[in-house]
């Protein structure tokens, strides 16, 4: 257990010491909040869809969680590059413990950033419909962070350098974000796009957050949580297999 705890602590320490990472984590959501949230707000309102700010904030929180938890994979590749991965893989420690420590660390950092963005959104006018659902929203956020932290480490276990990860961001993570319904409603989409959103795991995360924070749901909050939970288990098993095969 102490190996897991110290690896988790390591991720938190590294994050706390990286001002650029903290600033970077907030920069993207602020950009979307200002340009999309306030820019498209009047259009959304005229279309009879209500406040776009209320609509987009769960999506922006999910976006923050997605991008910052997937970074776990980048951190694995960085450890390979600077050599520290050798130290962990040579130690007489089961790989599963190392993996769990890394996942929890990456997910915790992403969750912290998600909470920061949520507070920022509250400051600019976002309102939580039912305050009693905050704890549920935090659980959903943690689940999203957990799922994508595992995915990040799975990718980091397959790839061999940091540059390859940028391609993954462009060709896998960006589509996951754009198809999740974070920026637009999922109702009335063309069938091909609708199908794509249904296989996008983040779509269930955004929907669950929208359900807990706004009281609106496209799928079903229970289904959302079940999909994310099942995905987390399957991803963990697959990632453990990949991580066992990681070479230095």
């Amino acid at each position: 257990m102490s190996v897991i705890y110290y690896l988790w602590l390591r991720e938190l320490r590294r994050f706390a010491r990286s001002r650029s990472q903290i600033a970077g984590a907030l920069g993207q959501p602020i950009l979307y909040l200002v340009t999309m949230g306030f820019g498209l707000g009047p259009v959304f309102l005229r279309a009879g869809q209500g406040s776009y700010l209320q609509f987009i904030v769960p999506g922006l929180i999910a976006m923050t969680l997605l991008f910052n938890s997937v970074i776990s994979g980048m951190n694995l590749l960085w450890d390979r590059q600077v050599g520290f991965l050798k130290e962990t893989l040579v130690a007489p420690v089961p790989r599963a413990q190392i993996l769990i420590g890394r996942i929890l660390g990456g997910a915790s950092v992403a969750l912290f950033q998600g909470v920061l963005v949520a507070i920022l959104c509250l400051a600019v006018g976002f309102r939580i419909k039912n305050l009693s659902s905050i704890s549920l929203a935090l659980l959903v956020m943690a689940l999203i962070a957990f799922v994508f932290s595992i995915l990040g480490i799975a990718l980091g276990s397959i790839l061999r350098d940091v540059r390859g990860f940028q391609g993954i961001i462009n060709f896998l993570i960006m589509p996951i974000f754009f198809l999740s319904g974070a920026l637009f409603p999922l109702e009335g989409l063309p069938s091909a796009l609708a199908t794509a959103t249904h296989v996008d795991p983040l779509a269930y995360g955004v929907d669950a957050l929208r359900s807990t924070l706004n009281g609106q749901s496209y799928f079903n909050a229970r289904l959302d949580v079940a999909v994310l939970g099942l995905l987390a288990i399957l991803l963990f098993v697959g990632t453990l297999y990949l991580f066992e095969k990681v070479e230095v």
Partner: protein, 265 residues
């Protein structure tokens, strides 16, 4: 008592034979040097001894344990300083030590005591709260050695530990290693390109070339065997003066032994 036993050890990467049928023993408490040109098979040998690589054939025993059968038990017996850096540069010197102690399941009190003792020994205690990224190359190397010693291993692997260090730091580092060997009776298995270091520090030296051991003995024995006046001349007589290309094997990543074993099943 023998700390390391190697018999007819061979490692092949596809058609390339990195280590070819080598045999040697290292006695407990001995400083044993492995020297050879680039790509001779030094690092591959260390990787097999340290349970990081599965041999293609042959026999290895470390402190009576088979690295292929009990990799984690073997890993607890040794400390290792890799050829390339392996510290977490975003953590402090102390935190790197702390994490290593946790990896080796050291009790907290012992971990703290040993960390203080070793950082003092390697003159790093005053820099314990500095991030590794701001330490000099020599300090980082000293920290890596201190870290490798934290869990009180019986055996220390040093894979070209003085590469890129200035003469002062090299001198100090070897003095520390020799002192550890004498005071704690720690067995040291080292590789180096610096002949003077091998001669000064090691009791016995094995010269490896093209994956095979071409000579083994004390520095004096090697000089006498080749009729030369220095270990460097003996080395050149035994291995030739031609510059070697780095073989591709150095870019082949080692496979964790657990993976190699699962692949064999």
């Amino acid at each position: 008592m023998k700390m390391i036993r190697v018999s007819q050890l061979t490692k092949r990467f596809g058609a390339f034979t990195a280590v070819n049928n080598i045999s040697f023993d290292v006695l407990a408490g001995e400083i044993f040097a492995f020297i050879g040109p680039n790509g001779a098979g030094k690092t591959t040998t260390i990787q097999m001894l340290s349970a990081l690589l599965q041999p293609s054939s042959g026999f290895v025993e470390v402190d009576g344990l088979d690295p292929c059968v009990q990799p984690n038990e073997v890993r607890r017996q040794f400390g290792i300083v890799f050829q390339d850096p392996s510290l977490d540069v975003d953590l402090t010197a102390y935190e790197n030590m702390e994490l290593h102690g946790v990896f080796y399941q050291m009790p907290r009190r012992l971990r703290i005591e040993r960390t203080r003792c070793l950082l003092n020994r390697f003159e790093l205690w005053h820099r314990r709260n500095d991030y590794v990224k701001v330490l000099s190359g020599g300090m980082k190397r000293r920290l890596e050695i201190a870290r490798a010693l934290l869990h009180t291993p019986k055996l220390l692997f040093l894979d070209e530990p003085t590469l890129g260090l200035d003469p002062q730091t090299r001198h100090q580092l070897w003095a520390q290693v020799k002192d550890l060997n004498e005071t704690e009776h720690m067995t040291v298995f080292l590789t180096t390109h610096y002949m003077d270091e091998a001669e000064r520090v090691a009791g016995r030296i094995a010269i490896i070339d093209h994956g095979g051991i071409v000579a083994l003995g004390s520095a004096q024995e090697l000089r006498e065997q080749t009729g030369t006046g220095s270990l460097e001349d003996a080395f050149l007589v035994l291995t030739g003066a031609a510059i070697r290309d780095e073989p591709l094997v150095d870019s082949i990543p080692f496979r964790p032994i657990e993976k190699a074993r699962s692949d064999m099943r």
